[in-house]
């Protein structure tokens, strides 16, 4: 596990922006996620799918940045769905109760279908 590294890529689909993450979401990289999403939201992207396929670690700082951006989206009547949350990252989501407040999908395609 490489420390302190996170990669973030965004692509546009018909009905949403897909943000693909890779690496670690820790106290040093989580602000990058928050900043990236705030920029997307400011640019008018209110329908987001976040792909966790390449994420190997998430700490409470990562969860807090997810929560912070979700709150901003909620205030703008936006929507955020999460895909490919697996393994220990899924475990962290579940323990924190995130599995009950966010929609988690098995694939980006499934999330895009749900987005409608």
């Amino acid at each position: 596990m490489k420390g302190g590294f996170m990669e973030m890529r965004t692509r546009k689909e018909n009905n949403a922006a897909v943000v693909s993450l890779a690496g670690k979401m820790d106290a040093t990289t989580a602000p990058e996620y928050e900043k990236g999403l705030v920029q997307l939201i400011a640019a008018g992207e209110l329908r987001l799918v976040v792909d966790f396929q390449g994420v190997e670690y998430i700490s409470s700082a990562g969860l807090r940045s997810i929560l912070a951006t979700a709150k901003i989206l909620k205030g703008k009547a936006g929507r955020i769905l999460f895909a490919n949350v697996r393994g220990t990252v899924r475990e962290v989501f579940d323990i924190s109760g995130f599995d009950s407040i966010f929609k988690l999908y098995e694939s980006v395609d499934a999330a895009l279908v749900e987005m409608g």
Partner: protein, 152 residues
């Protein structure tokens, strides 16, 4: 500078690192602990639990130990039988993270205080935490036990 640590006689020290208590040093700190955890033979699943707990403890020190400005944190790894022990020692404001009440996990997560998750992680992912205040120092031990048989 004297070492902050005074291990119990039963602990064999594996390594020690003294660095500025800043978020920029999180990566260096995690790599230090991981190197010794690997050498000790801590399983992959236990390592994730330790990484989560350690990050909380380290970040807490960075944020709260030295309100007046910079300070240092001394990290040490030790082995005590089948237990891997990580020590974080600082000379900052007294704070026993192990004594903070567990958060109310039944509250709506959108309304929970932001610090609660970290405390939950420490409780949930460490096998044991020990804290003592010793001559103006916070000394926190995170203890992870090597489980036998499975990838614990």
């Amino acid at each position: 500078m004297l070492h902050l640590s005074r291990w119990a006689d039963t602990v064999a020290e594996l390594g020690r690192l003294r660095i500025e208590a800043t978020l920029e040093n999180l990566e260096v700190a995690v790599e230090f602990v991981q190197r010794h955890a690997d050498r000790f033979g801590l399983g992959a699943k236990k390592w994730v639990g330790l990484a989560l707990t350690f990050e909380e403890a380290f970040v807490n020190i960075c944020h709260y130990a030295y309100p007046g400005g910079g300070g240092e944190v001394e990290l040490a790894c030790g082995a005590e039988g089948d237990a891997f022990v990580v020590e974080l020692a600082d000379e900052g404001v007294a704070f026993d993270v192990a004594a903070v009440p567990a958060p109310d996990t039944t509250a709506d997560i959108m309304d929970r205080p932001p610090g609660g998750l970290g405390i939950l992680f420490i409780r949930r992912f460490s096998d044991e935490m020990r804290y003592r205040r010793d001559e103006g120092r916070n000394i926190l031990h995170i203890i992870m036990r090597k489980d036998c048989g499975v990838d614990g």
